[in-house]
């Protein structure tokens, strides 16, 4: 038997004193954040989303501030530089005004190096190219000549090129689309039946670009002082080239962006929003309400789009040549909401069966709250994809509508209508199609990345992770 300790443990008052609070485990390391603040934080951390946000801001600034920095009028037609690619040569010489030509003078000397004596009279300029010829060796009666022109050197047996004119005269003046490049003219003698003989002559020449003093003044090139004949000056600068009427591409892109971005962003936002509300109500309600609502959506989809656009144009009373941007916006919303509605309804039908929905209902949540606070955010991914994909679609629909007279009236540009116009010359002047398409692509890319980032940021399940 151990000796019992004489001092057994006796509780003392200090044992019952309260312990100091250890807060380390429950220390708040950072301030509390709401759902939105958290979403914003995560968005900012997503490099791609941030990049896309900057891109969008950049585009909007480009279209809004652009007109103040680049002051060329987008509808001014620089007819001497039609369809110029960016960086093309801009030199031009001043020449006297155009005088009609009635043939060579009697003392005109003809070249001796070809069968018909084909000679260039005067200089070959973009105003006119004047050709004269003696005639074939044995023509007593003049049965006429056919004049051709091509851009490429001719080998034996090649077709002569573009037929310009058939004429009985021994001279010809060409004024058709003369560009500062090499041309090969061929003159062929015809026989009494009007059929080409084998008497022909080819002449190579290089056209020089010229404008008159009056034209220089009209195009605003005389600001630095008057110009004299024979002087060489530079035509206006067009960094992105010009279109089919000589209008500056950069200016058109800036102004066009205003229309396209406005429609491209707001129209999808509006009709997808409308679709979301409609579809979620239909999906959640189910039953007869759902059926009726969806059948109405089917009805709206099956109506012929073009027909009703024309009708709406008449109803809105858009006058000729007026810009009907707002009516167009309304019209697009009226006709395009069913697709997102159907999509969202489908999602809602799925989500409706989730556990948390029933739990919420048990807790007494009202329909409004359930649908818009719980279910819709969980369809965010699908909704965002739809919005971003409707952006280019809206831009092209706007182009199409402007084409039929609804929307912006000429000469107001928009990216979509610039694409339409650029298609025709896709092979020869690709820059007319390339730049507006590029801008549309950038916009679409930006919205896609932003959409991705938004979806990640708004995804409630990702909250409080990493």
């Amino acid at each position: 038997m151990s000796e019992q300790t004489s001092t057994s443990w006796q509780p003392s008052a200090s044992d019952f004193a309260s312990k100091p609070k250890h807060q380390t485990a429950e220390a708040i390391t950072r301030p509390a954040m709401s759902y939105w603040q958290d979403a914003w934080r995560r968005l900012k951390e997503n490099k791609r989303a941030l990049f896309s946000l900057y891109l969008i801001i950049g585009l909007v600034t480009f279209t809004l501030a652009g007109p103040y920095l680049w002051t060329i009028d987008p509808s001014a037609q620089d007819l001497d530089q039609i369809g110029m690619a960016p960086g093309a040569d801009r030199n031009v010489t001043i020449a006297p005004a155009y005088q009609p030509w009635y043939g060579p003078t009697d003392d005109q000397a003809y070249a001796n190096d070809n069968a018909l004596g084909l000679t260039l009279v005067g200089n070959a300029t973009s105003q006119a190219v004047r050709l004269a010829w003696r005639g074939n060796d044995y023509d007593q009666a003049n049965y006429g000549y056919k004049i051709y022109r091509t851009l490429f050197p001719l080998d034996a047996g090649d077709a002569f090129g573009l037929p310009l004119m058939e004429s009985k005269n021994h001279y010809f003046e060409d004024r058709l689309d003369l560009q500062p490049t090499d041309y090969y003219y061929t003159v062929v003698a015809l026989d009494s039946q009007g059929v080409e003989t084998d008497q022909f002559a080819t002449l190579k020449l290089t056209v020089k670009r010229v404008i008159t003093v009056l034209e220089a003044q009209k195009r605003g090139l005389t600001k630095n002082g008057p110009v004299t004949e024979g002087e060489q000056i530079k035509l206006a600068l067009h960094p992105f080239g010009t279109d089919y009427l000589g209008r500056d591409m950069l200016a058109r892109l800036i102004y066009g962006g205003q229309v396209s971005l406005f429609i491209g962003i707001f129209a999808p936002l509006l009709y997808v929003l409308l679709g979301v509300i409609y579809g979620s109500i239909a999906g959640f309600m189910g039953g007869a309400v759902d059926q009726l609502m969806m059948r109405f959506a089917d009805f709206a989809v099956a109506l012929p789009f073009l027909l009703f656009m024309i009708l709406l144009k008449v109803i809105f009373g858009i006058g000729p040549g007026e810009s009907g941007v707002l009516p167009m916006l309304v019209a697009m919303v009226i006709l395009l909401w069913p697709a997102p509605a159907r999509l969202v309804r489908g999602q809602i039908l799925q989500i409706r069966e989730e556990g948390y929905v029933s739990a919420s209902q048990l807790l007494g949540a009202k329909t409004n709250y359930l649908v818009f606070r719980h279910m819709v955010p969980n369809t965010m991914g699908v909704i965002l994809v739809t919005i971003t994909f409707q952006v280019p679609s809206a831009i092209f629909t706007e182009a199409f509508l402007s084409f039929i007279g609804m929307g912006v009236a000429p000469p107001t540009p928009s990216w979509g209508s610039m694409c339409n116009d650029g298609i025709k010359s896709m092979l020869t002047r690709p820059h007319e199609l390339f730049f507006p398409a590029l801008f549309i692509s950038i916009t679409v890319l930006a919205f896609n990345l932003l959409g991705d980032g938004l979806r990640d940021a708004l995804d409630a399940r990702m909250r409080n992770r990493e």
Binding site: A76, L162, L245, I310, P320, G405, P410, S425, R465
Partner: protein
């Protein structure tokens, strides 16, 4: 969690990607199977096009493109150019235009036009494609058919010079009252209501083509809707017609003229209106002829294709609205615009389409006058473009109209690319030179027509193509009674001149009247001629003898042949 899932997918991505790969392969197999099934299905439907070859010397056939499905092959009702093209190959009438564009005998061997009658003597060896001879009765039946109100033929008015024609068309007389008779099966006598010197030029038009009564009745209302519902009088028959897709023409063995229809087959293998697609078919050597646009020109030159050009006969002009409540009723206003617009700039620098001629007159260059062309005998007056003068006229107009400022003016135009370019150019030039604000009203086809008829425009970009080869088809446009006078220009002098042109029998008198009409159009600036349209096209080098026509079949292959050594 994110990093975790990436590492997860890293380690398992191999198996997953194999799974996915398997799905890809399954998908391809499925698609291949589907394609096979669809191939069978497509073969069942009679829409297969034979693999077209542009020029086939061995079979003596060529292939080409139709711009649209021919809407109407019933010659009593046909109005459009595609139907006209097909009809020009499968049917023949009393007279036709030859290779030199002169009126020449066809089914009628000879003819005579007097102030009261037109008589046609038909050849005895002309036969229908079923072997039966073509008789005068066939013409009578066709013309009566075109005039019957229930047929609803839009060009019935061309037959009005015939006695009682108009009364029949308005329902006042039965069709049998028509003033045509056939004393014997090969003579056709036409009674005229008034002297018409150019009646023989009128009968070239498709509405005058023959239709045989018993065949027409046997089709029970389906005449002209399919290959078997047509009887052919021309060098070709339709062997097969796949609607919307293709049409195959074959030489008609019963056709009388051995100089026409040298090709054994003409295969219109594609039906599309897209010019780029057509050019692609040409490049791929599927068709023998294709139109060129300005954008493809460089490419065509580079490929050294033979390029041809022809004036398609249409004249385009700026039409003013002469009604009471429009600015353009003021002569000085119109003169201002006349002096501001340089049509040479439009044609040479802006539209740049080769083959277009800057407009000088309503009457195109190719119209024949007495001996030479009408324009050679009566040259059109022109104006030099002068902005200062233009502004002076505008100031005068402003005073006369009592305006402080000019309001906006509407320019009505269509939605095709060429009119786009022109209207935008016009808008800009008038703004720069005259300070006028032009609103471009772009309308698609039917809406534009509606506005044209009701006069809802200030300025109108209009065009007119000829119906028959006589200056009257252009000359009577601005008569006050002509519904095609959209601006409602009214002038007693003009009406009197047109009446002379219609009724005079001596050609010099008529041509003089046309010259005067041309002058009045200029002095009064009724319209502003813009350009005469031309077409450039490429042809396969081995195909020869293709004739382009201003009136009738736009592209005429009936004299064409293949030259294998070209």
């Amino acid at each position: 969690m994110r990093s975790k899932s990436t590492s997860n997918s890293n380690t398992h991505s191999n198996s997953l990607s194999r799974q996915l790969g398997l799905y890809f392969v399954l998908a391809i197999v499925f698609v291949a199977g589907l394609l096979l099934a669809l191939n069978q299905l497509a073969g069942l439907m009679a829409t297969a096009t034979q693999e077209a070859q542009a020029v086939d010397f061995a079979n003596n056939s060529i292939s080409a493109v139709l711009r649209e499905e021919p809407p109407q092959l019933d010659s009593s009702k046909a109005t459009d150019s595609t139907s006209g093209l097909v009809l020009g190959h499968i049917m023949e009438g009393l007279l036709r235009m030859d290779l030199q564009d002169r009126l020449s005998p066809a089914i009628a061997e000879r003819w005579e036009v007097t102030p009261t009658h037109a008589t046609f003597w038909l050849r005895k060896d002309a036969k229908w494609s079923d072997g039966k001879p073509i008789s005068a009765a066939d013409f009578i039946f066709a013309w009566q058919l075109a005039l019957k109100p229930e047929t609803g033929s839009e060009y019935a008015s061309l037959l009005y010079p015939i006695e009682n024609a108009e009364a029949i068309n308005t329902g006042k007389l039965p069709a049998s009252a028509l003033g045509v008779s056939a004393p014997d099966p090969h003579t056709l006598v036409v009674e005229l209501t008034r002297p018409i010197a150019f009646f023989d030029k009128l009968v070239v038009f498709p509405t005058f083509l023959p239709i045989r009564e018993d065949f027409y009745n046997s089709t029970q209302g389906r005449f002209g809707s399919d290959a078997k519902d047509l009887l052919y009088s021309g060098p070709y028959t339709i062997k097969s017609w796949v609607h919307g897709a293709s049409m195959l023409l074959e030489h008609n063995p019963h056709y009388w003229d051995n100089n026409r229809g040298k090709l054994a087959q003409i295969n219109f293998a594609y039906i599309t209106s897209d010019a780029t697609a057509t050019l692609n078919f040409f490049k791929d050597e599927r068709i023998a002829l294709a139109r060129l646009q300005a954008e493809n020109l460089t490419e065509a030159l580079r490929l050294k294709w033979p390029i041809r050009r022809f004036a398609d006969g249409t004249v385009f002009y700026l039409e003013f609205n002469h009604r009471e409540d429009h600015l353009s009723r003021n002569l000085n206003f119109r003169k201002a615009i006349q002096h501001a617009l340089d049509m040479e700039e439009l044609v040479y620098k802006v539209t740049k389409l080769p083959g277009y001629l800057p407009g000088k007159s309503l009457f195109p260059e190719w119209l024949i006058g007495v001996e030479k062309t009408l324009r050679e005998e009566y040259p059109a007056s022109t104006v030099t473009v002068d902005s200062a003068k233009a502004r002076a006229y505008l100031a005068l107009a402003k005073e006369e109209l009592g305006l402080a400022e000019f309001p906006e003016i509407t320019l009505l135009t269509s939605d095709n690319p060429v009119s786009n370019i022109q209207s935008e150019w016009l808008q800009e030039v008038l703004k720069q030179t005259l300070g006028l604000t032009i609103k471009i009203d772009k309308q698609i086809f039917k809406q534009r027509l509606a506005k044209m008829s009701s006069g809802e425009f200030g300025l109108l970009l209009a065009g007119w193509g000829p119906d028959y080869n006589d200056p009257l088809t252009f000359g009577d446009l601005f008569a006050s009674w002509n519904l095609n006078n959209r601006g409602r220009y009214k002038s007693e002098e003009m009406d009197a001149l047109i009446a002379t042109a219609q009724n005079a029998t001596a050609t010099p008198d008529r041509m003089k009247a046309f010259g005067a009409i041309q002058q009045q159009l200029f002095d009064d600036v009724v319209i502003l001629p813009m350009y005469e349209r031309g077409v450039t096209y490429v042809v396969h080098p081995q195909l020869k003898g293709v004739k382009r026509r201003v009136i009738g079949a736009e592209t005429d292959y009936t004299y064409a042949y293949i030259d294998p050594d070209a």
